[in-house]
Symmetry: C2
Subunit: 342 residues, 2 copies
């Protein structure tokens, strides 16, 4: 089985964006703002948005199941206040849940959280609990910078975040560490902010002893780990200077990288330096980079092709990346599959 | 000849740091603060700090000449105001100049600028001119984020920076785009902020048409280009979505990457995806990562070993990286060498 751990609902019906635009227009007058009940998206509309997009591409490319979360750039936690984010997260998570109900063999949900800059992350717990208990979510997306490029929250190693981690450990769910749209003009959202956040998050883990406090906490760092594998020698050397344990034991029981790296040499580097057990298959398809690479004639984000073409990975390595590691990092997904006899 | 384009004076005599600490202690009472004349460092002290450190390692490792600039993490443009930075830059640039006078065959200076957050970069021009005209500097270090991790300046493509670019073009000097210490708790200085800035700067070039306005402007992006080569497919794909020209013509006549990547697979990736003409030899030795890699038994930052061991590069490619490209990107260095018959 081939499981893609990084899919976002980037193709939701237009009504969703229109509702959000109305919400944003009425940030200061929420009493005028749209009610949740005003958003009407039928099952047929959901089906069509998936069948003609993600599901069509999954069938073309040969993946079976996608861990599916709300569109990352639309989380935009910096907009409005906690109530704004709370309403918006509730809507987006419900849509991903409905998709998973319509296509139970192909999509399983992961939740966005109703984060808001300067607000205690503890406020996200009711939404997290609902998503796990009622919607069957198998993971969450945690935004280390809800300010959208101003980085005003404490590092992920700070106790500020511990209430979220306690729930993650309790439910045995991992977090993908994923920022949202940058509202800082210096940072292009998908070309700089996303990759910077990945590198930043890894370094926050490296410099701290977070995983001593939470030995079973699991972070999935997307986009191939940002700059980390390319600078693996630098990170090993920095840990050494700080008298930290070897990265193998210090962070690599808890940190995993996905394969959202959109060319063969990048994927090959990832699989040269990062242990197979820490790599999870993902494409973030219909995401940041939707075009066809003129040098290959194939979609940049068809990452399965790079894994298939890898001369570094054995057949068993590929199985681990496609399925074995995913089941280990997402135990609730594993349990769900097992309950279906898979 | 082997030229290292990325050396900082990280080993300056202790008196320099002591002077800086006094300056910082008196930020609000500069009239009490140390006078420039209070800093006394003899030629013998300079000689010793170089001979036992950078020069010893250059001889051990087999490089000939280093482009030498003030310690990057000590630029700390976020401290104090323009006057603070101006005095500090003047002192640091003079020391690098003196080193270049004491060891004219081995060191040639590049200047830090007296940047200060919120201050017009035009104010840096007198120091820049002095360094080029009087001190023989062949390049500058430009900090795209003088706030130290808060990213409050406009992107490098903004006209805000154009006065600096006009002088760079006039003098035919490149800028290494190099941030300084992070004072944002989210960003570890050398493990996150440096790499993030490299990626950010590249993306600011990619999304803009800066090099249409300045066709001869040259940026050296250090630390192997941050995350860029590892995600080269992503950047090609993003440029394509934005209907920009191919990166070859859009940015790669103006942007160069150094080889400060501290392991063999990273250097190999760099040289797999980035054209040889865009790669310049550098080590940033006695810098961020000073230890010995237990997996190789050699210093992480002995980057010449990785270039030498490369199976991707021909002998001529290596010559371009060590010298040919450096002379092309630093025309004032080339002229100086030629005037010596080199």
């Amino acid at each position: 089985m081939i499981i893609d751990v990084h899919g976002h609902y980037t193709t939701a019906p237009k009504a969703l964006e229109e509702w959000r635009n109305k919400q944003i227009a009425n940030l200061k007058t929420p009493e005028l703002g749209p009610k949740v009940s005003e958003l009407k998206i039928s099952d047929d509309e959901l089906r069509e948005s998936i069948e003609t997009n993600q599901l069509a591409k999954m069938k073309e490319r040969g993946s079976d199941l996608t861990i599916f979360s709300p569109r990352a750039s639309f989380m935009a936690h910096h907009i409005g206040d906690f109530n704004t984010s709370s309403t918006w997260a509730g809507i987006c998570n419900e849509l991903c849940y409905r998709v998973s109900q319509l296509f139970p063999d192909h999509f399983i949900p992961a939740a966005m959280l109703p984060q808001s800059p300067g607000v205690d992350p503890r406020t996200c717990i009711p939404e997290l609990e609902k998503c796990v208990k009622e919607y069957g979510n198998v993971g969450i997306n945690l935004n280390p910078d809800p300010s959208g490029g101003h980085w005003t929250s404490p590092p992920l190693s700070d106790r500020h975040w511990y209430p979220i981690y306690e729930k993650m450990v309790e439910y045995d769910i991992p977090a993908m560490i994923h920022v949202s749209t940058s509202c800082n003009a210096c940072f292009h959202t998908t070309g700089a902010h996303y990759l910077n956040a990945d590198t930043t998050a890894f370094m926050q883990c490296l410099t701290s002893d977070l995983f001593k406090d939470f030995p079973t906490l699991k972070f999935l760092i997307p986009h191939g780990g940002g700059a980390v594998p390319y600078h693996w020698g630098r990170f090993r050397g920095l840990a050494q200077e700080m008298k930290k344990p070897l990265l193998d034991t210090h962070v690599m029981n808890n940190v995993f990288f996905d394969t959202c790296v959109y060319h063969q040499p990048g994927i090959d580097l990832l699989n040269t330096v990062i242990p197979v057990k820490n790599v999870l298959f993902a494409s973030e398809m219909i995401g940041a980079v939707r075009g066809i690479d003129p040098t290959t004639g194939h979609y940049y984000d068809d990452t399965k092709r790079y894994i298939e073409a890898s001369k570094i990975l054995s057949a068993d390595d590929k199985h681990q990346i496609y399925e074995g590691n995913v089941r280990r990092v997402f135990p609730r997904l594993d349990a769900r599959l097992k309950s279906k006899g898979l």
